[in-house]
Amino acid sequence: MHELSVMDSILKVVLRHAASNGVEKVVAVGLRIGKLSDLVDEWMQHYFDYLSKGTVAEGAVLKIERSPVIFKCKACERDFPVEMAEIRTVACPACGSGDITLIAGREYYIKNIEVV
């Protein structure tokens, strides 16, 4: 639902790095987004295309990598990934404890840009 403002933030960061590196054209943007984000890849690309028209980033492809949702077991201190579909019944795979806490899965990280 808020793709527009997220993509606007991404574009600003991309254009800032493009300008400071004297870039002619951005061909791709590498992103890492937590699986807890509800943004859909296709829509992110649509909004990015719309916002980037007329900039050096026009036509750039978003390469989106999804980073896992990670929980930490408070009993045995182990970290483990959890699929969204399993979040309903999640327990520590090592010791079986249900005393666990969310430690990662909601990041919006821009890794790099491919440029000419």
């Binding site: 933030s9 806490t101 969310l102 491919e114």
Partner: protein, 222 residues
Amino acid sequence: MADIRLIEVKEEILSDNKTQAVQIRNDLRAKKVFLMNLMASPGAGKTSLILETIRGLKDAYRIGIIEGDIDSIVDAEKVTREGVPAVQLRTGGFCHLDAPMIGMALDEMDLENLDIIIIENVGNLVCPAEFDTGAMRNAMILSVPEGDDKPLKYPLMFSICDVLVVNKIDYLAGSDFDMAIFRDRVLKLNPAIRIFEVSCRTGEGIEAWTEWLAGEVKSLST
């Protein structure tokens, strides 16, 4: 043909918003103004809880409200009737409030003469969870008729809140809502969250909530 180069960026996408949010928090802390972000789905009782909070705390604290709900001045009118200043943000179709919008609202407020500002965020359990508003505490309301499965559907919202108000507990009798299962689901996502069970209609549990809020405000001055 020119070679393609890779430039490392390594930035959080919402870093602009985060920077502004941190700035807002620091400014308000220096002015000893407590800012709370209140989130919930439409109809969960955001305005009702704000009105109950004003009634409980207005003799001890000077309260202001930032109304962020979509294009309506209904909520702001209800609040100003309680003798409390309210700024209405015209968010159009926007699904959330972010730090720059809150910054604009704060510019309209008399910060020297306020102790507590409550943000009534847009009614939605998805988008507001993603944006730091600059508030010192994130609070959410979940009302009993919405069901005890909401932590499973909106885990991000439950994981970023410091406090959860379960409203409309007067509807518990005769509903399928299982409070023990609900609490368990919430605490799994966020073991540090404080949970208050209230009914804005009967007033049950409201005092425990306002006492908590007053305690948070006091801790700003220490």
